[in-house]
Point group: C2
Chain length 137, copies 2
DNA sequence: TTATGTGCAAAGCGTTTGCACTTTA
DNA sequence: TAAAGTGCAAACGCTTTGCACATAA
């Protein structure tokens, strides 16, 4: 089920996408999504959730965050917030808080990398991991 | 085997530490270390490698990088001067190539973020995703 | 001697996949 | 009806762990 072949409308896809949109303010683990759908009597199987999540990620409708390899990935709907893609994200490895940032220094770095390495950074996918003020104390 | 209880000298620990020091210029996956030691007729078991690597990481002698949860972590010896080895990673979303970078602009951004947001960026975990020169064509 | 370290194999755990069944178009 | 999607359970791959044996101090 690659993105371009994901052409048929199904109940499961609609339910999952709606669930993601309804929770766009938080990051959800696959487990949370499974449980959430089940709780509203609209269970979707684990395999389908992972498969469609992957498609949505490839399409850019949701973003997948990896806090660490010790912990499950989490997902967030960003489809209707294109402006989010113009910012970088700081994510606290400990509490999961997400902070949106941008700065001239970062733009300069992007330009520098493009010139030196020919590498085009995708800011919609890049996340700075670290510890937020609260968790550093 | 926590750091403070790792008190006895063993052949295995010496071999592993020496191996890490001898390859301090590259990122090694656990698998590489296992294979490397085995090849020089000094095999150390997988369990021991993972256990001692964890101790060394806690002690700050080596750094553990988790570039993605899809791919094994990699390790690098940084000795007593971990600051000297800091760098960021560019990873091509398409071919997986990893490029190491650092720049004053990025350092400036880090300092700015620390001041403004109180956020301490962990560069060993931060990866810039995008497309490398080759894949952009 | 005895607490600590090692090796082996099995277990963990999030995620993916094979396959038969169901559904969309 | 036939191509695409789903659900289930089993497989995956990296890493960790239980346990019996080995070894440093």
């Amino acid at each position: 089920m690659s993105a371009e072949k994901c052409s048929r409308q199904t109940k499961q896809k609609a339910l999952l996408l709606e669930y993601m949109k309804n929770h766009r303010d938080i990051h959800l683990k696959a487990e949370d999504i499974l449980a959430g759908l089940k709780q509203q009597q609209e269970a979707v199987s684990k395999a389908t959730v992972y498969r469609f999540l992957k498609v949505l990620e490839e399409e850019g409708q949701i973003r997948r965050y990896t806090l660490s390899d010790k912990v499950p990935a989490c997902y967030q709907y960003v489809g209707d917030h294109p402006e989010c893609k113009k910012h970088y994200h700081l994510m606290c490895s400990q509490c999961g808080t997400i902070i949106h940032v941008d700065s001239p220094a970062l733009r300069a770095f992007m330009a520098e990398i493009m010139e030196k390495e020919g590498f085009a950074i995708d800011e919609s996918r890049t996340v700075f991991y670290g510890l937020c003020r609260k968790c550093r104390k």
